[in-house]
């Protein structure tokens, strides 16, 4: 028996060594943690599929993973759906560096979408539309930031309230101020689609019309945010305030300025997200403000899970939003694979479980650090052996 244990521990040694080596680089550890959590999330999704219809589970899992890569069109769809998500994820991640939870992002996305659509419908260029969205989002982000900095109002509270304020203001504006020429004649609580002048220019890749300049802008902004956070004094101040507010006051960081700026920039990113939601050259959708339908765009909330999976890393946001959309595009294929057993409710459930587990990636990150602290897995097994020996001695 003791021999067997030793064999097992020997078998795990390379794994343990691997983790030990990866633990030395913090960034690499985060990546490992993210991948681990996604794999476990997929496995849990697999278990649910087994519960519903065991025969189709294997095929279902494969579909879940591979659909996005089967055709250029599918991959293109995943890519353009991921673009706005990158921005909302970035917005959350940016505010989080200062320890602020920008839950007002939903409202900021909505106001950004609404204003940029109005700008587009009045015939403006796509870039100007994007700027309009960013500015409107920034203003919506500034308000909770100013309240937080000046009056110490909790940003979660004021953010949620502002979401609803924006929701109803859009309803009022839509019914009164917005000219009828912008509206659909059949259903008056709907804006027209973004005209082609306001849509982002497509990159023109065959079979992937949806892939536009947006993805390039997204990657560019991710790099800028990464540089700002890690290489500039402004980012240093933000991180310092996030980790220890008192010490940053002591070091002379202007708290008011950095709080307001962080939430404003976060809001601007959300505003761009709002613009991109309605400016896809592939299949632009329509904007509703009828109070019976949900006008508050859930894409802001998606940003929270994007940022969580990426552990607030700007570059990680690209991959985590891509992961979410890749799962998203496999919905229809899942249904056909299982003869309709995995219907829309089940696919949503599977998606939710995967996101839920994947969001635990920070937990896995901590676990990896703990393994390192306990002098790696190697020692873990060594200790197990000594315990065993102790027992034998006791007898």
């Amino acid at each position: 028996m003791a021999n067997f244990k030793q064999n097992v521990s020997n078998a795990f040694r390379p794994v343990a060594n691997f983790f030990h080596r990866t633990n030395k680089k913090q960034g690499f550890r985060s990546v490992i943690a993210g991948v681990l959590s996604i794999l476990i999330g997929l496995f849990c999704g697999f278990i649910i599929m087994v519960c519903i219809k065991p025969d189709a589970a294997g095929a279902g899992l494969w579909t879940l993973i591979s659909t996005g890569f089967t055709s250029p069109a599918a991959f293109g769809r995943a890519l353009y759906k991921a673009t706005p998500m990158i921005f909302s994820g970035l917005g959350i991640a940016f505010a989080f560096k200062l320890g602020l939870f920008n839950i007002g992002i939903t409202g900021q996305v909505t106001i950004g979408a609404f204003c940029s659509l109005l700008a587009g419908l009045s015939g403006m260029n796509w870039f100007v539309c994007m700027l309009v969205g960013a500015i409107c989002g920034a203003i919506a982000g500034f308000i909770p930031g100013w309240l937080k900095a000046k009056f110490n109002v909790n940003e979660v509270l004021s953010g949620i309230m502002l979401n609803w304020v924006i929701y109803y203001i859009i309803g009022i504006l839509g019914n009164t101020v917005v000219p009828n020429s912008f509206k659909d004649k059949a259903s008056p609580s709907e804006l027209l689609m973004m005209p082609s002048s306001g849509q982002m220019p497509s990159l023109g890749i065959p079979q992937m019309e949806g892939v536009s300049v947006g993805i390039i802008i997204a990657i560019f902004v991710v790099i800028i945010v990464f540089v700002v956070l890690n290489m500039t004094t402004f980012g240093f101040e933000l991180k310092m305030t996030g980790r220890n507010k008192n010490a940053s006051t002591y070091a002379g960081v202007n708290q008011t300025k950095s709080t307001i700026l962080a939430l404003t920039i976060s809001g601007a990113l959300a505003g761009i997200c709002g613009y991109m939601l309605y400016a896809d050259p592939g299949a632009p959708s329509k904007f509703l403000w009828d109070s019976s339908s949900n006008t508050l765009l859930s894409d802001g909330f998606n940003g929270i899970s994007v940022s969580l999976i990426a552990q607030n890393s700007p570059i990680g946001c690209i991959f985590s939003s891509l992961l979410l959309t890749l799962i998203d595009v496999s919905k229809n294929s899942l249904k056909t694979v299982s003869n309709g057993y995995y219907n829309i409710h089940y696919t949503e459930l599977i998606k939710a479980v995967i996101i839920y587990i994947a969001a635990l990636s920070s937990f896995f990150n901590i676990l990896l650090i703990k393994w390192n602290d306990a002098n790696e897995l190697k020692d873990y097994f060594k200790r197990y052996k000594t315990k065993k020996q102790l027992k034998e001695e006791g007898k």
Partner: protein
Amino acid sequence: MEENNVIELRHISKSFPGIKANDDISLTLRKGEIHALLGENGAGKSTLMSILFGLYEPDEGEIYVNGKLEKIKNPNDATRLGIGMVHQHFKLVECYTALQNIILGAEPTKFGFLNPKVVRKSLEDLCAKFNFKVDLDETIDDMPVGEQQKVEILKMLYRQNDILIFDEPTAVLTPQEIEELMQSMKELVKEGKSILFISHKLNEIMEVSDRVTVLQRGKCLGTLNTKDTNPVELSRLMVGRDVELRVQKDECKPGDTVLSVENVTVYNKDKKKDVVHNVSFNVRKGEIVCIAGIEGNGQSDLIYALTGLEKMKNGSAIINFDVNNKEEAEKYIPKSNKFTTSIIDGFKYTGAGISYIFKVMSYGLKRGWHSFANLFRKNKKKFEIEKPTFKVSTKANYLEEVQKGRIHLEALSVRRRNESGVSHIPEDRHKYGLVLDFNLRDNLVLDTYFHRPFQKFGFINNKEKDKVATRLVTEFDIRSSQGTSTIVRSMSGGNQQKAIVARELNRHTPLLIAVQPTRGLDVGAIESIHKDIVKARDEGNAVLLVSLELEEVMNLADRILVMYNGEIVGQFNPKDVTINELGLYMSGAKRDSVNAVL
């Protein structure tokens, strides 16, 4: 094995990544003795005690408790074996009463309901036995630190622990409280308890302990009988070289005034009252002015008001410099152009205007409410709140003041104060002094990261940071496991303190404000920091020192100001005064009317 060994540690080793904290340490604790554990910062004392208390597991070695081999995996195991620990930072629930804290985790119950009455009697007996003056129904918030510590001790006694570990218990106490603690420890030992006492204050160890074990850099240098040794030998063993226990310094040659504090009053939000009343004093070039006093007499609030961490209610603090001395003046007078100045001032006027409107509105409401309330009062009250005034501190005004060689600190932001020649070693190193999750390199430039070599056009230059950090690490002997990349949280308390001192002294500012710069440090480190402070003085800088330790005060100060109850009650030359005399002023038994502005 001897019968009366309650604890025996055999060949304990423990390493952390990059450092061997304990290397083959053996130690025995006899029944009924006080065993002192002496060592420098980072020598491995706390690690060893954490192993004994079950917070870490040793890599090698065995622990025998009452002659039996035991595995202590967590603090619960330790409590089961009768081992209790008083931590340096107390583990008490602040809004609970003493009694609630003591029974927490081992609550006496009757039919599932709390029944503290049973315990009260036995606790009162314990208090009487050991002469503890603790009010069991007082909340921890309202207690002085010394009393809180007694609650911790009572907690251990209530759990019937026979082996008590004191982790640097005197670091946070006043001299009187230390005296009381020493008495209590002697009483406890008489009752058959055994005490492990961690400290690096030699005189306490000499007074109270029976045996002393010395650790140096993780290794055990042996155990001595306290009777057979003396402080000089102990300090040499601990540090590994001869240590001067008194600082050598030249006669003080004070020059012009650098800092003048005029009629400062500070309001404390938590205590809801003024804690500093009308304090005036000055600090001159080449002089160490030391504010002595028992903790909580307004020293901290005064310093927070000077450095900008709290607001000043009244009065002013002024940095003076010589305008005619061009080299000196250049440091203070910022380069600015009229355009940006007027834009910034525009913002400031707008902000001040908005806040003025709010103030006037609230004043009006208060006045209205007062007149309404007066209708129903028998004794009509007078309305006493002052009318708000429109105040704005513009950059233009600031520039004008600077041209005259006077900088009013009270109107400036913390950043501007730092740039006006104030460096500050804060009292609370975890709250203010350090960002614990940053690495050592970033912490060593925490308030200078925006200066030229560390940043260019807003981009951080880590190489330059590292250069400076490496120099400071060697200069100030800051020990850490992975050099400048160590996360500060994992460093020992003393080395964290050294990092702060290194950072602030490296700025070579005309005014150094140091609050308890040697708190929790060993003799070797204290010696070097004292030397550095004296060196800063000899360079012609002014030093304002706040210390609770009278020895430090007597050692360093050129002028002593005693603070009691928010006022300065005495001013002395350290040569003309004894420690006892100072103690009388500090406790409020004596007071002079002082003119501390020289």
